[in-house]
Amino acid sequence: MKVTIQKITKIPVISMALLIVLFSGCNHNESDNSALYNINEGEKTSAEVTEYAVEAPPFSDGAFPCTDCHANFIPNPLKRELVDWHQDISEMFNHDKENRWCLDCHDFNNRDSLRLASGKLLDFKESYKLCGQCHGEKYRDWKVGVHGKRTGEWNGTKEYLLCVHCHNPHSPKFQELTPDPPPFRQEDIK
């Protein structure tokens, strides 16, 4: 391969910044001031948009907004197993069950929001930041396209999935699946 350094530098730069700019596209929370959003803020207008997150997976029917039901309840901050409501989640919950429960991620006062450990509220569409608090290594890999799946164009528009597309946040272990059939064996060919 004959390639000069000059040529290499000409390759359109798909920087992290673009990734970020794109995220901001589906983010209603413009007050966000995390470092992630500020890199290359100036380029936002000039840079061509080449990456974007796909829509967050839909909630189960009638589950959102949570405040439809929760507005009428007096919140109880006590860690406990839920028995009357959200039983399905209680049953499947397997995400450091011993130490964590609903209000470690869902906000106590505003159920339509997630909450970082710092107390900062987070839209459901930005849940990846919440995951990234603990799973920093995976978060780092995901941002550069190593963890998780990217589809689209290797040199252009990419789509990628959020953590919750593949991992159920309440039971994040990847589900086992049935493999597709094995190849024919030579000895079986008649």
Binding site: W154, N155, C166, P182, R185
Partner: protein
Amino acid sequence: MKKENSRRSFIKNISLATFSALALSGCNMEIFDEFLQKNFRTLSKKEKDKIIKNLEIKYKEKYGKEFRVSVKLAIDVTLFVYALYLSKCVGFRRCVYAYVKENNLSRNPQIHYIEVLQMDKEKGIDFADSDAQYNPEKVPEKGHFYLPVQCQQCRNPQCVTVCPVKATWQEPDGIVVVDYNWCIGCRYCMAACPYGARHFNWGEPYVPVEELNTELHFLGNRPRMKGVVEKCTFCIQRVREGKYPACVEICPVGARKFGNLLDPESEIRYILENKRVLVLKQELNFQPKFYYFFGN
């Protein structure tokens, strides 16, 4: 002396008669053209256009569908590299069948470009002890890991060196391709490949018409004929249009990574710079462009 002369003239006359009969019969002209077609690398733009047009007509007649055959050349400053996240692969075999579909691989006799090997965690990468036939109810199975093997797109490809008719070569973007019209089916390349990546069409390839992919590349997924060797081309018809290969797009665990090594911003470059990568059968010095890597 006289006898020899007469034999020579007999053969000469016979061959002349055959060729002129072929030429005159008209309907066989295309077969004749195809038979005398030059190696893809020596074709001019005009000749390529003509061949493509003929192929599209031929395929339409044969399959009753519109096909688009591309001869798109390598994109400048590209070197395709693949990486596979071993810690993530759990052996669903989705890639195997995505590849079959995208590349119009023969369903019967069956050809698979990707072979997923189940290996024992205790033994590590051990081909002699691997199992390609695993078929449990659910994967991953305890105590095992999965290692898919396909064409490793070597920088030093011996399959190319051994080809007696130069029907296979490495493109500028690093993809090793086959000109099916030039392949004589000697299968030397299959013997030279230590990864079992090349496959021979022992019978007339069968692909259900409704499952045919109509986006073709001359050096890639165009319908093959009996008696030629074929191989993974990183889905040349997709990657030269900027798309990811089919196996990358299907992988449900996102274990497959693909990109341009010469682009410093590509995810593939990040992997090679930051992860522990390995290549298979490194001691052979084939220098694959297909890397495997582990988690941190």
